[in-house]
C-alpha cells in the first residue's frame, strides 16, 4: 500500500468515511494491516483467530478471584 493510504487510515481527514469509522469505534490500524495482506492471507488470519478464540473458550477455567479491596488473590 502507498504511504498516502497509510496516512488516510492513520490520520483520517475530518469528515471522511475513515473519521466516521473511528468515531464508531473501528480501529483502522487493524483495518490497515488487513489491507496489507493478500485476500488469501486475510482468510488465513480470520481462520487463525477463530481457532484461537475457540481454543481459549474451550480450555479457560476460573481458578480464583482477586479481592475487591486488597487486590490479593483469595
Amino acid at each position: 500500500m502507498a504511504v498516502k493510504d497509510d496516512d488516510y487510515f492513520l490520520n483520517p481527514p475530518p469528515g471522511s468515511a475513515a473519521a466516521r469509522a473511528v468515531e464508531f469505534g473501528i480501529d483502522l490500524t487493524l483495518t490497515l494491516e488487513n489491507l496489507r495482506l493478500s485476500p488469501e492471507e486475510r482468510i488465513r488470519k480470520l481462520d487463525d483467530h477463530l481457532a484461537g478464540i475457540a481454543k481459549l473458550k474451550a480450555t479457560a477455567r476460573i481458578i480464583g478471584r482477586h479481592d475487591e479491596r486488597t487486590s490479593k488473590p483469595k
Binding site: F24, I53, E68
Partner: protein
C-alpha cells in the same frame, strides 16, 4: 500442559494463544480487558486483538519491554519507518500503547477509561488459567463500565450483551441464595 516462549515459533498455535503465552511466560503483571475479557465472560461478539491493562511497577515494565522486544513489537498508530526504541523507559514515559507484533496486535493500557489504573482494574478481577498460566480478567461490572465510558457505538453494542450476561449471573446468584435459605422449595 506445555508452556513457554519456545512454543511461540509454531505456525500451528493460534495468535491469541501465542500472545497469552508470551505475557504469561514473561511474568508480566497485567489484567485482560476488552474483547477477549468479554469473550471469557461469555460474549459472542468477535474481537481481533488482545487488550491488557499492565502494572506500571518498574520491574514489570522491564519484563514487559523484554517480552515486546522478543516479538519485534512496533507502534501500530505510527508510520512503519518511524524510529522507536522499545525499552522500559519508553513504556514509563507513555501510558497507553497499541503494537503490532510477530504474534498479532497487542494493546497495552496503563489506564482504562471508566475504571482507572492497574490496581483498580485488578480489584475484584477473576483469575483464569489460560494455556497453563494464571491470568487476571477484569470483573464483568468493571468491563461494562469501561465499555460504557468508551461510549462509541461499537462499545455500546457490547454493553447491551454484557449487561444481559451480568443480569443472568445476578439472577442465578439470587436463586442460589433463595435455595440456601429455603432448601425444601
Amino acid at each position: 500442559m506445555t508452556s513457554g516462549p519456545a512454543n511461540l515459533n509454531s505456525d500451528l498455535i493460534p495468535l491469541i494463544e501465542k500472545q497469552v503465552r508470551l505475557l504469561g511466560s514473561s511474568n508480566v503483571d497485567c489484567v485482560i480487558i476488552g474483547g477477549v475479557a468479554a469473550t471469557l465472560h461469555g460474549s459472542e461478539i468477535p474481537t481481533s486483538d488482545l487488550d491488557v491493562c499492565y502494572s506500571r511497577d518498574p520491574q514489570n515494565l522491564e519484563r514487559l519491554a523484554k517480552a515486546l522486544q522478543s516479538v519485534d513489537a512496533r507502534l501500530r498508530n505510527a508510520p512503519r519507518d518511524l524510529p522507536f526504541i522499545l525499552d522500559a523507559e519508553t513504556l514509563r514515559r507513555g501510558l497507553n500503547f497499541t503494537f503490532w507484533t510477530n504474534v498479532g496486535s497487542l494493546d497495552l493500557l496503563g489506564e482504562v477509561k471508566g475504571v482507572g489504573y492497574y490496581e483498580d482494574v485488578l480489584s475484584g478481577s477473576l483469575i483464569f488459567e489460560l494455556f497453563g498460566f494464571p491470568f487476571a480478567v477484569v470483573e464483568l461490572g468493571r468491563l461494562i463500565a469501561a465499555k460504557r465510558a468508551a461510549g462509541r457505538p461499537k462499545d455500546l453494542l457490547m454493553v447491551v450483551e454484557l449487561e444481559a450476561i451480568l443480569e443472568r449471573q445476578l439472577q442465578a446468584k439470587a436463586d442460589e441464595h433463595k435455595k440456601e435459605i429455603k432448601p425444601d422449595e
